[in-house]
């Protein structure tokens, strides 16, 4: 069907508005701070024929960039033939949809005249889904059974009727039943809004025009992406980095990226094998991490299945970046971030004007749990974040989300209301930035004292492999976590993981996050900027 340029512009805008509105409704109605305050969620609509993203909410977390498409594909392969109007499918299987068990996807088909026209998908982070350690970031996990409840694609609603038995089954497997049930309802809310808006759009434009526009938009996004990729000289470029899995061991990532006239092949063959620990990745996670790295280099590209078409991959099964069930994947954010880092390191060689130094590079999740003085159970995951890399025209920012994320940081005052902790400091960390013409951002220091006995675990990285600089910039200071226990200090330099440590009232946890890598030769730095850093007490070394 013929589309004029105006229809295309209008429909593109409307599709974006619909998913933006789903994002908004999801956050406003959610219970868990990780969604309502930290926005750890995404909403999208998917083309059911090609199983490609049509539009994704602008405020969704980057790590879900292609995960929604993969989830929809997995669900439709298994349940597509049974799908009826008013159905909702729930799932969290990372091997089918990426990331970890904590990310629950809900899918609702949008029907017109008995046909599925689009699929709406909503993803949200659930703080607890059972498993050995509350919160799911368990550094001791050796398989996925220890990490929580696995939900294969399952009907949560049939023909508009919520299946309360399924909801109860899920909710009974969490340590936070009320909040998690509220979060499911917030996602149902977002899907409902999506359906209502699509109904209006179809009334206005008709199905034919809508579908024609969706196909055209995907083709154009593909052409746009190929245009950007085609700027790079044909050839194969490589980078290498690592994920720390113990005090002495690491998993190696090796990537070879081949550019060929606007097509890209990404090869992870040289990477380490999967292991009995939580830093493995299900393949959809590796894929989404690669896409989001490119999206950071070319932010103009819309999140749309067409942009993914120029990419092909090689990663033999059994590599830790393509682990199989029942591998543990709870530490996915560490490895996924490292995937984006190796892609960034490769792209910095060919597109230096768009590059930035590596960021602190680790999800660094501190989990603490125990009982309040009134006996109620609490569990919290606290993200430890640091500096961003320097770039062509500016020093790196302090205290940024990882490139794979966008989640905000909790209010310390609220955290003292909710949990029996007292914060001693949250400050910038001197001498932690990578040097450069533009230096990296400073890391941070966080420290709290506990008021009750609690269990603490830390799952992080970059304690032995520093964030790198680019275009001649220097590397940044590394992660350092120290815990004061009754039997002395635990952790310190070189420790990226600390497993299930008991602390008593008066004990403390101190987390120093890594800084960001520098950009360009440090000798070219403006002397006045050095003076300012010294005056601010952030540069103390000579």
């Amino acid at each position: 069907m013929a589309l004029n340029p105006l229809d295309l512009a209008i429909i593109r805008g409307r599709l974006q508005q619909i998913t933006d509105e789903m994002d908004l409704v999801h956050v406003k109605a959610a219970f868990s701070p990780i969604v309502s305050e930290m926005s750890d969620r995404a909403n999208a609509m998917i083309n059911p024929k090609r199983l490609e993203v049509v539009s994704q909410g602008k405020t969704g977390l980057p790590i879900f960039v292609s995960a929604m498409q993969t989830s929809a594909r997995s669900i439709m392969e298994r349940l597509g033939s049974d799908m009826r109007d008013g159905d909702v499918v729930i799932m969290n299987d990372p091997f089918l949809g990426g990331t970890h068990l904590q990310d629950i996807k809900l899918l609702r088909p949008f029907f017109v005249d008995g046909q599925i026209v689009l699929l709406l998908v909503s993803t949200g982070h659930y703080v607890d889904l059972g498993g050995a350690l509350a919160g799911g970031f368990d550094p001791s996990a050796t398989d996925i059974f220890q990490e929580g409840l696995q939900i294969p694609p399952t009907f949560l609603a049939k023909a508009g009727e919520l299946r309360r038995d399924i909801l109860r089954l899920i909710v009974q497997n969490t340590r936070l039943p009320e909040a998690q049930e509220g979060d499911v309802r917030a996602q149902l809310n977002a899907l409902e809004v999506g359906v209502r808006r699509l109904t209006a759009l179809v009334e206005e434009r008709g199905v034919e025009q809508l579908l024609a526009a969706i196909d055209e938009l995907a083709d154009r996004s593909e052409a746009q992406m190929r245009g950007y990729l085609g700027r790079v000289n044909n050839g194969t470029y490589r980078a290498r980095d690592a994920v720390e899995i113990s005090q002495t061991e690491e998993l190696v990532l090796e990537v070879a990226i081949t550019f060929n006239d606007g097509s890209v092949h990404v090869d992870f063959t040289g990477s380490s094998a999967a292991y009995r620990g939580p830093m493995n990745l299900a393949w959809p996670t590796t894929e989404t991490a690669v896409f989001l790295a490119f999206k950071h280099y070319f932010p103009e590209v819309p999140i749309n299945g067409g942009c993914f078409r120029p990419f092909t991959f090689t990663c033999p099964p059994g590599r830790f970046l393509n682990a199989s069930w029942p591998s543990a994947v709870g530490g996915y954010s560490e490895s996924a971030q490292r995937v984006t880092d190796v892609v960034f390191a490769t792209l910095a060689q060919v597109l230096p004007e768009l590059a930035s130094g590596a960021c602190y590079g680790t999800g660094s999740t501190l989990t603490f749990s125990g009982h309040q003085t009134d006996g109620t159970f609490f569990a919290s995951v606290f993200p430890v974040c640091g500096g961003h890399g320097g770039s062509k025209d500016s020093d790196g920012l302090v205290h940024t989300p990882l490139p794979i994320g966008m989640a905000k940081f909790p209010k310390l005052e609220a955290s003292e209301h909710d949990f029996p902790v007292r914060w001693e400091t949250m400050a910038m960390r001197p001498d932690s930035a990578g040097a450069g013409r533009w230096r990296g951002g400073w890391g941070s220091v966080f420290r709290f004292t506990t008021l009750v006995p609690m269990n603490v675990a830390f799952l992080g990285d970059r304690a032995r492999h520093a964030p790198f600089g680019v275009v001649g910039g220097g590397q940044a200071a590394m992660t350092e976590v120290t815990i004061k226990t009754q039997s002395g200090l635990v952790g310190g330099r070189g420790y990226s993981q600390l497993k299930n440590i008991r602390i008593e009232p008066g004990d403390w946890v101190e987390m120093k996050s890594a800084g960001g890598g520098g950009y360009g030769n440090p000798s070219e730095r403006d002397p006045a900027a050095m003076v300012a850093d010294r005056r601010d007490g952030l540069l103390t070394a000579d």
Binding site: N4, P5, L6, A9, I10, R12, G13, Q17, E21, L24, V27, K28, A29, F31, P33, S36, E37, T59, P62, E178, G182, S221, A223, Q224, Y228, Y297, P299, P302, F344, A355, P383, H388, G389, S391, K392, D393, S394, D395, V398, T400, P401, M406, A407, K408, F409, K411, L412, E413, A414, H417, W423, E424, T425, M426, A427, R447, A532, D536, G537, L538
Partner: protein
């Protein structure tokens, strides 16, 4: 003096480009208007100059009301004063660290320079806990040390923000007292004196912004006061605050952060009055200028207030402001073809200079205004009425053809219509989201379009959104100036509570309400006002465990504790479509203590505008609508009689704007001064 008695009044709104003035002479019933270029170095010069141009005697003015952008400009241009921050030991960097965010979701570059650099951020001992308990006392030695450090810094202003001060402000007050004792002339911004709410970063940022702009606001207000008094004005002029209420400049100086959204808030106030006069209880205020469009949702004469506001990246400002959504869509918005080959309009703008290509100031890109020129929506008569002399309609055709029509394979006219359609769609989307977010249906609303470009887009928005009626104010281009004189005198107070509703007693609420009332009465008395016309409450609540509050609005004397659960459930249902079986927590109580202003008689404005002779004769031209060139009536607003109506397509011109009436719509000049646009069946 008491504004209820005001007669001859002047309203002045200072915008980025123009300073707009409107004056009402009680003796003659005349309305005067003036538009001057804003004097960026000192806004008071254009304010005083504008009033002079109105030709009214300063000594005979009962009131001057003012909307200002001084505070905003100081922040955007980083021209605030050298200040310091005092924080709890261990937390001086909170204000730079923020809530962990990037300037953009995607893209890796970008930096941030805090308003107060690290070496001027000091720390003090003492610690308050989450329940307001003193965990560690603040000692004389702590205070002495921080005073000495402050002395060495030689600053003009200090912000104080300590941990959990919203629950117990005694440490903050002790620090403030020590500073006042040591430096009597120091400008001090204490976080809990501005907005005592949980959130260490938000409170610190707010206090830092207040310290940064406070002395500048004070000096500006004093300069303007001197300027007005030298010319014979005898009163304390009034300033519109970000919450939409007015206050004497002497009071407004105490709370400089409340003037950030001064001008836009005044415009919304006028839209509220225009809506009321037109009998509309649900109104979308739509203010479209050269660069952006501001949308505000008004229900039953009330505008929602927002607390979580930002004045820039990593700079939250926690004070009540009217809740407004902005979009980069204005007359100067640039149309372009993006990398996907799709037409895009805005958010880039040609601004005031070079402006649209047709203005002949060197603009080479196609803008929304150029599209209107191509289609004949801005006839020569309109330019004459707007006193625009240099125009080059051929330039509009050239840029639309070259930049849009040729690349997309369309005719120039098709391309121009497409540009308008896209910008209208973007704006309609913003309006739709703004109503949806509040759980409301936009089709139940009336539109109040204003700003230089608003009336050109009114019909298109009505069409896209299914709105049935629009009320175009008397002077659309001067609506913010008009709004300054319509703003009620208003003062807001907040008390954090953070307790389950089931534990809150009548006595607790009465105590808070009485305290706010007394504070409000005191401020009003300082302005010569001996009455309180309304005391409204906004009770911020959520289901225990949530983070985003939903407010219940109720008059203080209507409050019944027993009803609050049900009222909250209703408000929650309206917003989120459902309710939950959970205990409700009362997070905070906000009071607005209001003395109503007599405002303006809009009928008087309507009568006044008809007294001025029309600049043009009614005639017919060809203009393009929906792909067709149509005979289009062009008439001067000043020639329209009360009750007279015209069926679209029509173009109504006046000095400050051009109004486009699309085919199928009818414009009627009502006796309340607004032109009512309705859909013709």
């Amino acid at each position: 003096m008491d504004p209820a008695a005001s007669q001859s009044v002047v309203g002045v709104d200072v915008g980025g480009t123009f300073t707009d003035c409107i004056g009402f002479d009680a003796a003659t019933g005349e309305v005067h208007i003036a538009k001057l270029p804003t004097t960026l170095d000192d806004q008071s010069r254009a304010v005083v100059g504008g009033i002079e141009e109105l030709g009214m005697q300063f000594a005979r003015l009962d009131q001057v009301c003012h909307g200002t952008t001084t505070a905003t400009n100081a922040i955007i241009e980083r021209k605030g004063v050298k200040g310091a921050l005092i924080a709890t030991r261990g937390f001086r960097d909170i204000v730079e660290l923020g809530r962990r965010d990037r300037p953009n979701a995607y893209g890796l570059a970008g930096g941030f320079t805090p308003l107060v650099p690290r070496h001027r951020r000091l720390e003090v001992g003492g610690r308050i806990g989450a329940k307001g308990e003193e965990v560690e006392p603040i000692t004389e030695a702590d205070l002495k040390k921080v005073i000495e450090e402050l002395r060495a810094l030689d600053v003009e202003a200090v912000a104080i923000s300590l941990m959990h001060s919203y629950a117990n402000d005694s440490h903050e007050k002790r620090v403030e007292a020590a500073i006042k004792a040591a430096f009597p002339n120091m400008y001090v911004a204490r976080s809990t004196a501005i907005y005592p709410e949980l959130g260490e970063f938000e409170r610190s940022s707010t206090a830092v912004i207040a310290a940064y702009v406070g002395p500048i606001i004070t000096r500006y207000f004093q300069r303007l006061d001197t300027g007005l008094r030298e010319r014979g004005f005898k009163q304390d002029y009034m300033v519109v605050q970000s919450n939409g209420g007015a206050a004497s400049h002497r009071i407004a100086q105490r709370y400089p952060t409340t003037t950030i959204l001064s001008g836009p808030a005044a415009g919304v106030g006028a839209a509220t009055a225009v809506g009321n006069a037109a009998g509309l209880n649900k109104v979308v205020s739509f203010d479209m200028g050269g660069t952006s469009a501001d949308v505000c949702v008004i229900v039953d004469g009330k505008v929602r207030q927002s607390i979580e506001n930002f004045v820039g990246y990593r700079m939250p400002l926690q004070v009540p402001m009217i809740e407004m959504d902005s979009i980069g869509a204005g007359g100067g918005s640039i149309a372009s073809i993006d990398d996907a080959g799709i037409l895009r309009v805005g958010p880039r703008s040609a601004g005031a200079r070079p402006g649209p290509a047709c203005y002949g100031w060197g603009g080479t890109e196609a803008t929304v205004t150029d599209a209107h020129f191509v289609l004949g929506h801005v006839p020569k008569a309109s330019l004459a009425a707007n006193r625009i002399e240099r125009v080059d309609p051929d330039a509009a055709i050239r840029v639309v053809k070259k930049n849009i029509a040729d690349p997309l394979g369309m005719s120039v006219e098709e391309a121009a219509e497409a540009i308008l359609e896209v910008v209208n769609e973007n704006m309609a989307g913003t309006i739709r989201l703004a109503t949806v977010e509040r759980g409301l249906d936009v089709r139940d609303f009336g539109l109040v379009p204003f700003g230089g470009a608003g009336p050109l887009h009114a019909c298109a928005l009505m069409r896209k959104l299914g709105m049935k009626v629009a009320a175009v104010p008397v002077y659309p281009g001067l609506t913010s100036a008009l709004g300054t004189v319509m703003a009620d005198v208003r003062h807001d107070f907040v008390q954090p509570v953070r307790r389950l509703l089931s534990e809150v007693t009548r006595a607790d609420m009465d105590k808070i309400i009485r305290a706010h009332r007394a504070e409000g009465e005191e401020l009003l008395k300082l302005q010569g006002i001996q009455r309180v016309d309304a005391h409204d409450l906004a009770l911020a609540m959520f289901y225990a465990g949530q983070r985003h509050t939903v407010s219940v609005n109720i008059a203080a004397d209507q409050l019944a504790i027993a009803d609050l659960n049900a009222l909250f459930a209703e408000a929650y249902r309206q917003k989120n479509g459902m309710t939950l079986e959970r205990p409700v927590m009362l997070v905070s109580v906000q009071s607005s203590v209001i003395a109503k202003t007599k405002g303006l008689d809009l009928k008087m404005c309507a009568a006044a505008i008809r007294k001025t002779p029309p600049a043009i004769e009614a005639h017919t031209i060809k203009a393009r609508f929906m792909g067709k060139d149509m005979d289009t009536r062009v008439l001067d607003r000043r020639s329209m009689k009360a009750g007279e109506s015209v069926l679209g397509p029509a173009i109504i011109v006046q000095r400050d704007t051009t109004m486009l009436i699309e085919p199928g719509y009818r414009a009627t000049d009502s006796d309340i001064g607004s032109i009512m646009i309705t859909k013709e069946n």
